[in-house]
Amino acid sequence: MTRELHLSVALGSAGPRPAAHWTGLVQLAELGALDFVTLDDSLDPADGDGRLDAVAVLAHAAARTSRIGLIPTVTTTHTEPFHTSTALATLDFVSEGRAGWLVDVSITEEAARATGRRDPAPAPELWAEASDAAEVAARLWDSWEDDAEIRDAATGRFIDRDRLHYADFEGPRFSVRGPSIVPRPPQGRPPVAVVLDAQEIDIRWELAARHAEIVLLDADSPAAAREARTELRRRAGRDDLRVLVRVGLAPHAGPPLTGGLDALPDLLAEWHAEAGTDGFHLVTTTPTEELPAVIHDVVPALRAGGLFRATHTGRTLRDHLGLARPDSRYAVRTEAAL
């Protein structure tokens, strides 16, 4: 039996184009039944020719799509973990269970001076903080048990406060008391994604092992990808980690898969067989040109080879990735205490 192949696409970052431009791209990706789109973001003013907020763009697209997963980058260095958590939970509500979170940090001097809150810090320190931010988000998403809203007319109670929980996180860079102001999102916890390099095991791997369900992996050979996946799953100690190899689509984008879009279906099939990874994250450089080719040429060729599904079979991002909806950690604790 052929292993299921997961396919997703990176749309780059959202330059200041009209909303319809971005919505059109997301709708096109949905037409191809891809698992999800990612949209980059950054708080560095020097970074690119203008950029819309990624959560904003995908929230807008959410209202005009119904199946495709939506994964914005949200950086953790100059933002408030509480706001990040509630914005992503809300993206999950407005999309009815299709939100994820691509975690990143801001290491540049320009971003630090723009936000004006702190000096630049070394990358390992920022990634440790990112890991704390992911921990806080998970606790806040869990802080309302699924059935916390009771609307009990007899006692006048709208919620059962025994099913709401404080996050009570204290770390070197921030503390958060909780609970969230947003009830538990439809997916329980929107899946967390992180970009890793197969050649370089660094502090990001700890974040991935502890918090991620999606790893977007840079690897230059099927063997390296296979090894990295094995190592990641060993560290994570769980089987709910999907490893997708990042593939640049522009001819000059370099390794691993050069040769243009015509050769792509065969190359993906070959890698999928050899690398043992879960699929591919196709990175566009000019999405208006590359995405139509992916949807109209690459995807049908993969389908013809029996490698990719014809339609979305589930509704949520977790459904597409074959990830179970987690229970609230606090609900588990309550049961254990009985």
């Binding site: 907020d53 807008h60 709208f158």
Partner: protein, 441 residues
């Protein structure tokens, strides 16, 4: 820009407050639906747009309120994050303004200016920001900055925040080159340029709700809309005259600031029917448990042993009894308790009846015809420029108003029958802001 039609009738501006987390939102009613699902937001926003409202308004909460050290469980609880919901609503509406309440104490100017510019771009020029501040260490426990910003510093931080945000919004003219903003002040020290060119409105519409003298001054200097609590004819006219009178010293005209009090509407087939419905709604809003909780906030002590349908407690308040966190701070408990007792005695009110009386706000109660006439009178006589309607039901709470009162306002020539412009500034008759040429804030 004139706010009048050719016939000279002063136009009514209308906004819709989403009835979510709020003690006035009735959740016991069989028609009450989710306060969190997107479909609820979509229903109310589309209803408001059908009624040719100016904008849709979301409140904010950054920490769940507590009583007696435990999370308050009597009111509707749980809300989404405002800007994300509004970006989604921008995709399913065409004209309706989209207003988010966002705290200037627990956000930073560069990031927030960018988020509002994004909403303005994605909505085609329909963004508004209701600027609020907090001095609350309780809320601060959820944020990096943590604790207390004292009361005086709240407005200086908010003013500096808006100044920096405006400099950023101005810093990238459409078709031009982005400028670098350099700002160094007591609260912010930043060097940046905007990450986006001018959005359709350049600046989102600014809304402000403070009622103190410094709040009114801040509004006169900065805001496009004041969200007022003075809804009655007499108090509304006094507030209107006071705030509009402050505009000249900032080189602004009375048309450039709209005063919009919160108001509720209850309709009936007759005046008596409407009054009966209003009384029923008030009893749904103030349950026996909520009535006791209202008194506990002042008494600072547990009153659960008292009968909500009986007389007020004979015990005295506890001076420093902080039972509740996340509500406005209560000072002069003894004075308030004495006034409440006098009121209850004079009108023969039980605890619950008193709580109903105390938490009343401006209401238009009557037939569609009498409500349309009363709203028109308020606006015509400068008690208000319009209203932010606060329905009690999610999400159908505006259906009756839009079906029954809006056509009558349109017949009177005081409410548009079609949107004339594309942006929220157009709806409000506010000009496009002139970006300032200077390089730094």
């Amino acid at each position: 820009m004139s706010a009048s039609t050719p016939a000279g009738r002063k136009q009514i501006h209308l906004a819709a407050h989403f009835p979510g987390v709020n003690s006035t939102t009735v959740w016991r009613d069989p028609d009450s639906r989710s306060q969190i699902d997107f479909s609820s937001f979509q229903h109310l926003a589309r209803t408001a747009e059908r009624g040719r409202f100016d904008f849709f308004f979301l409140a904010e909460g950054l920490r769940l309120r507590e009583r007696k050290g435990r999370i308050h469980d009597l009111d509707v609880v749980g809300r989404p994050e405002s800007l994300t919901v509004l970006n989604a609503l921008a995709a399913v509406t065409e004209h309706l303004g989209l207003a988010a309440t966002v705290n200037a104490t627990f956000n930073e100017p560069f990031e927030l200016a960018r988020r509002f510019a994004s909403l303005d771009h994605l909505s085609g020029g329909r963004a508004a920001w209701n600027i609020v501040t907090s001095s609350d260490a309780f809320t601060g426990e959820n944020f990096r900055r943590g604790g207390y910003l004292d009361r005086a510093d709240r407005y200086t931080r908010a003013a500096e925040f808006v100044e920096v945000a405006r400099a950023l919004w101005d810093s990238w003219p459409s078709g031009g080159t982005p400028r670098t903003v350099r700002h160094s002040g007591p609260h912010f020290d930043i060097t940046a340029r905007a990450t986006l060119p001018h959005s359709p409105q350049v600046h989102p519409v600014l809304i402000q709700a403070g009622d103190s003298d410094e709040g009114r001054e801040f509004a006169a200097r900065t805001a496009d809309i004041v969200f007022s609590r003075h809804g009655t004819l007499e108090a509304g006219r006094a507030f209107h005259a006071d705030v509009k009178g402050r505009l000249a010293r900032y080189g602004r005209t009375p048309d450039q600031l709209k005063i919009m009090p919160a108001a509720t509407v209850v309709l009936g087939d007759s005046e008596a029917d409407a009054q009966e419905r209003a009384a029923h709604i008030r009893r749904q809003q103030v349950s026996p448990q909520t009535a006791i909780a209202t008194l506990e906030n002042v008494w600072g002590r547990d009153l659960t042993g008292y009968d909500p349908d009986g007389p007020l407690p004979d015990v005295e308040p506890v001076p420093d009894g902080e039972l509740a966190q996340g509500w406005a701070h209560m000072s002069d408990r003894f004075g308030i308790a004495a006034r409440w007792r006098a009121l209850a005695e004079e009108k023969h009110l039980s605890i619950r009846e008193l709580a109903i009386e105390l938490t009343a706000r401006q209401s238009f109660i009557g037939t569609p015809g009498s409500v349309a006439a009363a709203m028109d009178e308020h606006v015509r006589t400068d008690a208000a420029d319009g209203f932010i309607l606060v329905p009690h039901l999610t999400p159908g709470g505006l259906d009756e108003f839009v079906d029954q009162v809006v056509p009558l306002l349109q017949e009177r020539g005081v409410l548009r029958t079609e949107y004339q412009g594309a942006t929220l500034r157009d709806h409000l008759g506010l000009g496009r802001p002139e970006p300032r040429p200077e390089e730094s804030a």
